[in-house]
């Protein structure tokens, strides 16, 4: 029988972590794109649009991510689309993060004082101009820390893709555990790798929050 050394465990986990990172990046990019679109719909003045996005956000915030993954995996299969665990995970995580990001960003846009809108309108600027030159630059500043903070949730969320059979860090961990019967060691290393991925993001988010808030007080 082949012997699995500690070095093999570590190497395989690190190799699997690539897929965690890649899936996180895809989910973040997709979620940010769709989330931006949703944010604009949400702050539009069309009631029906506002309601639709609200329901969308409620649905994704009120159901477990695991259920969303299952539905993406089995639901798209029903539609006759042959979907791999990869595709299902990427879709589900993209939709999941778009709902959360758009909710975060709406809050940021709304945090810009109403007076700014009125002042800009008085100056004769159109909607697009107001957005581009007045509101978004200010909202962006507020949005960066929570956005970075949410990326931690995405990285952690990718762990659930292991359940539908996508071989990333957590799945590699369970597979190595089955092969070596050293759960304590294997899952401790898995946890450490996740920690190393997430902790810098958490810290960056806290740092940015402090820095941007201080800058705001001075201006």
């Amino acid at each position: 029988m082949m012997q699995i050394t500690d070095w093999d465990i570590l190497r395989n986990l690190l190799l699997a972590a690539r897929w965690t990172i890649l899936l996180s990046l895809i989910a973040f990019a997709g979620g940010a794109t769709a989330g931006l679109l949703l944010t604009f719909l949400r702050i539009s003045r069309r009631r029906s649009l506002i309601w639709m996005t609200r329901i969308y956000i409620e649905l994704f915030q009120g159901t477990p991510l695991l259920m969303q993954l299952f539905l993406a995996f089995f639901g798209l299969g029903l539609l006759g689309i042959d979907i791999s665990p990869w595709g299902a995970a990427a879709w589900a995580l993209t939709l999941f993060s778009s709902a959360f990001l758009s909710d975060i960003w709406r809050g940021c846009v709304e945090s810009v004082p109403k007076g700014q809108w009125e002042a800009a309108r008085c100056l004769g600027l159109g909607y697009v101009q107001i957005m581009r030159y007045v509101i978004l630059p200010q909202a962006l500043r507020v949005a960066i820390p929570p956005t970075v903070g949410f990326s931690v949730q995405i990285v952690k969320g990718t762990a659930l893709a292991s359940i539908i059979g996508f071989v990333e860090l957590t799945k590699a961990g369970t597979m190595l555990n089955n092969a070596t019967f050293q759960p304590f060691k294997v899952f401790a290393i898995v946890a450490v790798i996740y920690f190393l991925l997430c902790y810098p993001l958490s810290k960056a988010s806290q740092y940015l929050e402090r820095k941007l808030n201080v800058a705001r007080k001075h201006s």
């Binding site: 159901t63 477990p64 639901g75 990285v155 759960p183 946890a191 996740y194 997430c198 958490s202």
Partner: protein
Amino acid sequence: MDYQFNFADLLNYRDVWISGIWMTVQLTIFATVGGLLLGILGAAARNHPLRPINMVASMYVEVIRNTPFIVQLFFIFFGLPAAGIKLTEVQAGMIAMIINLGAYLTEIIRAGINVTPKGQIEAARTLGLSSRQIFIRIVLPPAIERVYSSIVSQCIIVMLGSAVVSQISVPELTYAANFVQSRNFLSFESYFVTAGIYLLLAFLMRVLFALLGNYLFSRKEKAI
């Protein structure tokens, strides 16, 4: 698409669904109570003047918040028995949920504590209250009231996260869904209905917590 949806057959497994929901509710109740106690303890430790206590609490929070729940669950369920601690699936799931919620609540409650006006603590000290009395009677109640909505959101997130506990075969709601779809192959229908039930549970939790909040925080105002 020529797939015929068949929700009616799910009803044949009524008992499985009901016992699954009941298990999820039980897990949530225990996790909420345990998590709150752990969070209060953690917040007290985070503000403790002794540095080692503070550091242990801070490490606990950082480690839990920066690793996925499923890894924490696997570590507890597979890892602890290897270290000689035997746990049933339900115990392991519950412990994982409490530990997870406790870390988030530590930070949330601490945020509520940190904005307590210094004068109140000084006044309480002048009245001769001990540090423990000050924490439990003066600092904690208004702190919890201040961050109540964040606490509620976090408890709901943990309830939804409990779906993952099905992976160590705790017979809760998601486990029921997996069980049903493995019998009748109505996977989409099963998970669709399950998602709906979770949505309903989240809604009910929000309502119950709102009622509880009204009850807890309005009495005080009447007394003044």
